[in-house]
Symmetry: C2
Subunit: 98 residues, 2 copies
């Protein structure tokens, strides 16, 4: 299991139609083959400046790469993410058994 | 559901006994009442400098507060987290339905 997450803040005003439209477009990424447990999240800690998050899981590196290179993902990044996201941080996780 | 996560990097060398000991101590936090879906994670993205993560869920704000204020959590923060963690970022999430 690989969990791919990204915390982000939009350029749009909080509660705006543009914000909702962006989040709905992001949720469409869940339909890409191999994406599991897709979640749209609101970031609530006051200890950072991010306001939303996305989380999804992949069975393995191949499935993650298929998603990353998928034309629908690339188009979303170019047409929505880059112009509309003010700041973001990607965090990817695998299970750790100490 | 409130998902409390923290990404972090230890002062200890990668693969060291001290690293393992810290992670095992962190895992003991899972026993605090109200902690659900506790996960010890390795952070694998090269787009940030964190190397581990913890994730847990709480049913509500009261359960989260009970954890935060629990003596075992406070002791862990004072005796292990502050002296052994080089950098960290907390991210808390709730479900968002756009």
């Amino acid at each position: 299991m690989i969990r791919h997450t990204v915390a982000f803040r939009l350029k749009h005003p909080s509660g705006s139609a543009a914000e909702q439209d962006f989040l709905r477009a992001a949720c469409a990424l869940a339909k890409i083959e191999g994406v599991q447990k897709f979640e749209c999240l609101r970031q609530t800690s006051l200890k950072n400046s991010f306001t939303f998050g996305l989380s999804m899981e992949f069975a393995n590196e191949a499935a993650y790469a298929f998603y990353s290179e998928h034309p629908e993902h690339s188009r979303f990044v170019q047409e929505r993410w880059i112009p509309e996201v003010a700041e973001f941080m990607e965090l990817d996780y695998v299970t750790c058994v100490p």
